[in-house]
Symmetry: C2
């Protein structure tokens, strides 16, 4: 069993980007600039946005954190996004979700210009991903592909079972793993809350992507010997033995599943750090696309 | 075994639309208008476009057939599409594929305004379909869903195996059948040329969608007793016993598979006619969306 070490791979990718940015700076060219919009002060959102801003600093990207009160009107928020769309210095825009209930996620996402949509949530970018056209692939699925690539895992002809059909993880993973690409060409089964005999289906899998958000749902008896297990879940569960009072658990019962696997991602330290690396890659790409042609 | 009669369902849908158009006409309102663009004179394309124009006439839609020489420049074609985009009388635009090699399908499709893209091929419409937002679903998958709906086939929790991952059939079918909708909620396995043990996977299926374009590929020993089989293939194979010199074959070996099925589509007369009905529905919808608000 080998651990898929998201910390390590993420560091490697970020280091690669840092060198590229250093090169841009040495040449007097514009460096990538990510604008993050945070509405309200949800604890988890603060943490996620903080990690993204920190990653920008490490790599040498410029970042702008736009903090807004949670009673901001939808129109005002859309206006702020329009300003970021129009700002020639800004390459990538991300709006941290979830948003307050009075604001439509859909409207906000659709307002971000597709060429700055580094989260890859705009329908036109999702459509391009489905059609195999170059685009921004959203951070979690993109991060998982980067991890498979790093560990040179051959996916071709493998049977991948994706548990969960969310727009941000399960659905795009099922599409990407079955696409005709070097990290695709799997036979893919997508499962969800209406799936019967889930355990039986999982037992057929060469690759399991667990993205349902139920801590320790995937047990040893659902996993074939030698399978590759990608655990996307991350849930706080009460744990009185810890000072924080909670432990972070994935969707996979790691202790009993890991011994059966050829590869498995830990939680934390697996998929999580990869999402940041993927976002950084997208931001760099956005900068290249936007400025490449006009730079010397 | 019951036949899924595409001719019958298509007629029913078209008759429903005809009555709605008669109502619009009686009220002195605008009727739906489909513009079809045909480049060159490929025999199959002529047939397909002809069938679409004929369906418009039957229902009472206005249609415009724009015939262009196959040496038209890409720019000129894009200009013609722009004119159709700007024409307030035109509700839906379809460009019959394939196009001559010197013209990019992608550029042409992306030039059609998404609100007139009744074929549902524009990335923004594909993205909306993935995200479960209201949009134009492309004709073949939409037609299959309309057929499932007509026959009140309960898809929830069924295991659907989609053979083929094309952008126009296999891929969207796999997404739609696994979406959280009345004709979705299947567990879906998507298979393709790199799939191992395809027969074994097909034998698990409650629903098989065969969309690989290989005549009579799906044999009886690949189909579970009681399965629902949707045959999307339609290939001309030589047949000296027929006056035309060819027969139309689906991707399913009908004679031996049909007795095992609860439902099966014939070829021809199954999915084919449904694609026309679906296109007509999309055109009606486009007209409603575009003109609804401004009509009395």
């Amino acid at each position: 069993m080998e651990l898929l070490d998201g910390q390590l791979v993420s560091r490697t990718i970020k280091e690669g980007l840092r060198l590229k940015v250093a090169q841009l700076t040495a040449e007097g060219r514009k460096v990538p600039h990510l604008a993050a919009v945070l509405v309200g002060n949800n604890g988890a959102s603060e943490t996620y946005v903080g990690a993204k801003v920190k990653a920008c600093a490490e790599i040498g990207f410029k970042s702008t954190l736009v903090r807004l009160d949670d009673d901001i009107s939808e129109n005002k928020l859309l206006g702020i996004i329009d300003d970021l769309n129009d700002d020639p210095d800004v390459d990538g825009i991300l709006v941290q979700l979830p948003l307050p209930k009075h604001i439509s996620d859909e409207k906000v996402i659709n307002t971000i210009h597709p060429s700055k949509d580094v989260d890859g949530f705009h329908p036109v970018n999702v459509g391009k991903m489905v059609q195999g056209l170059p685009t921004f692939i959203s951070a979690t699925p993109h991060g998982i592909l980067l991890m498979l690539e790093h560990y040179k895992i051959n996916t071709k002809g493998k049977h991948a079972v994706v548990v969960g059909r969310s727009n941000i993880v399960g659905r795009p993973m099922s599409i990407l793993l079955s696409s005709n690409t070097p990290t695709g060409n799997c036979t893919v089964t997508i499962c969800h809350s209406h799936t019967h005999n889930l355990a039986e289906i999982c037992r057929q899998a060469d690759i399991i992507v667990a993205a349902l958000g139920r801590p320790e749902f995937v047990k040893a008896d659902m996993v074939k010997e030698g399978a590759i297990v990608i655990d996307v879940g991350i849930t706080r569960v009460p744990d009185s033995t810890r000072k924080s009072g909670f432990a972070l658990k994935g969707d996979v019962k790691f202790d009993e599943v890991a011994p059966r696997c050829s590869y498995i991602t830990p939680v934390p330290g697996g998929v999580g750090p990869m999402t940041i690396a993927a976002l950084m890659k997208n931001t760099f790409l956005a900068c290249e696309e936007r400025n490449g042609a006009t730079q010397i």
